[in-house]
């Protein structure tokens, strides 16, 4: 189950972002990721791994994992038709029945957003220091 390794990588990214804010009391509220259809990631397994692993990090215990699946889009080998490659049709182009030439979408696996909460008092202090 490599979803555990992927969950750990997401947590590591959130921890790095938290560290960069340099606040003792900042907490991550949400991390948003995109997962391409042509990546070997099962969202339910990833959610399960993330929810269990975040418990080990006090600054992440309330952090929600938002996942968006990006459906695959390919250009076919023969005529560059744009199509959605599907296992039920053996990933073949529905127009000319040639295979996948290049994948335009569907290989994403990225963190796109992390929402971090900083206590208001601390935020004011930070602004005062900067000012």
């Amino acid at each position: 189950m490599h979803e555990a390794a992927i969950a750990q990588s997401i947590i590591d990214i959130v921890l790095r972002r938290l560290a960069s804010i340099r606040s003792d009391n900042a907490k991550a509220q949400r991390v948003s990721v995109i997962l391409g259809e042509f990546r070997n990631v099962e969202p339910e397994s990833l959610a399960f791994a993330f929810e269990n692993m975040r418990e080990f990090y006090p600054e992440l215990t309330e952090c929600r994992l938002d996942m968006e699946t990006i459906s695959a889009q390919a250009k076919c080998q023969k005529a560059q038709h744009l199509y959605h490659p599907e296992p039920t049709s053996f990933y073949l182009c529905p127009i000319c029945e040639s295979g996948i030439g290049c994948l335009i979408r569907g290989e994403e696996m990225d963190v796109v957003n992390v929402v971090i909460e900083i206590p208001k008092a601390e935020e004011e202090k930070r602004h005062a220091r900067i000012g």
């Binding site: 189950m1 490599h2 390794a5 992927i6 990588s9 997401i10 590591d12 990214i13 972002r17 804010i21 900042a26 509220q29 990721v33 042509f38 990546r39 070997n40 990631v41 080998q77 296992p87 053996f90 990933y91 073949l92 040639s98 295979g99 996948i100 030439g101 994948l103 696996m109 990225d110 963190v111 796109v112 957003n113 992390v114 929402v115 971090i116 909460e117 900083i118 206590p119 208001k120 935020e123």
Partner: protein, 235 residues
Amino acid sequence: MHESADEHALERILGKNDEMADHNREHFRRSKTCVFNVMSAPGAGKTTVLEWTFRNLDGKFKPCVIEGDMVGNLDADRIAKTGTPVYQISTGRSCHLDAQMITRLLHSESVEKSDTIFIENVGNLVCPAEFPLGEYKRIVLLSITEGDDKPIKYPVIFRNCDLVLLTKCDLMEHVDFSLEEAEKRILAINPNVLVMHVSAKTGYGMEKWLAWIVRQISEYQSEIKKIAHVHHSAH
């Protein structure tokens, strides 16, 4: 009362592994070592193909093997019997090798002395595909006893490889496996891949495999020479 900070910078989830893989790749380029990542489901014949390969390389290269297994060193013991240096990585609970596991071995004696490394990944058609290790080429084995539907079920690993070996072809008359159908399905997912039919038991197709390996090593050596030349000229 709290303030929120939105951090919108896009970051690859497995970016750290990719960085380590790049580090390994650069290390291998400097040491002129050609590295193959060999992947398949458990029991497809990775170790058997490697054993045959080392018995037939006729001292042409100085190979070394990195064996990835969740538990035990049975495959490493088999490789060691061919006289090829071998390192065992026991991944424990992990179903794949990652780049950092390879990094830890970069300065091992036999790795440093080798010009060719075969990394035998953990038997699995899913997870290893997601973790580049710093290899030059990726090889996937599919044994005909597994069924010709596997490229459809596991497209990612077949999409991201350079060579597919359809192994155990000596068993052809005993199984319902269409070599033609399997090859068609693999090429529909990855038009750039080469597919070979082999049997390490009878030697069928294995000369072609060996010739491919020798060609890859030679092409790799030429490529890195060119890069070194460009770097040298630039300075």
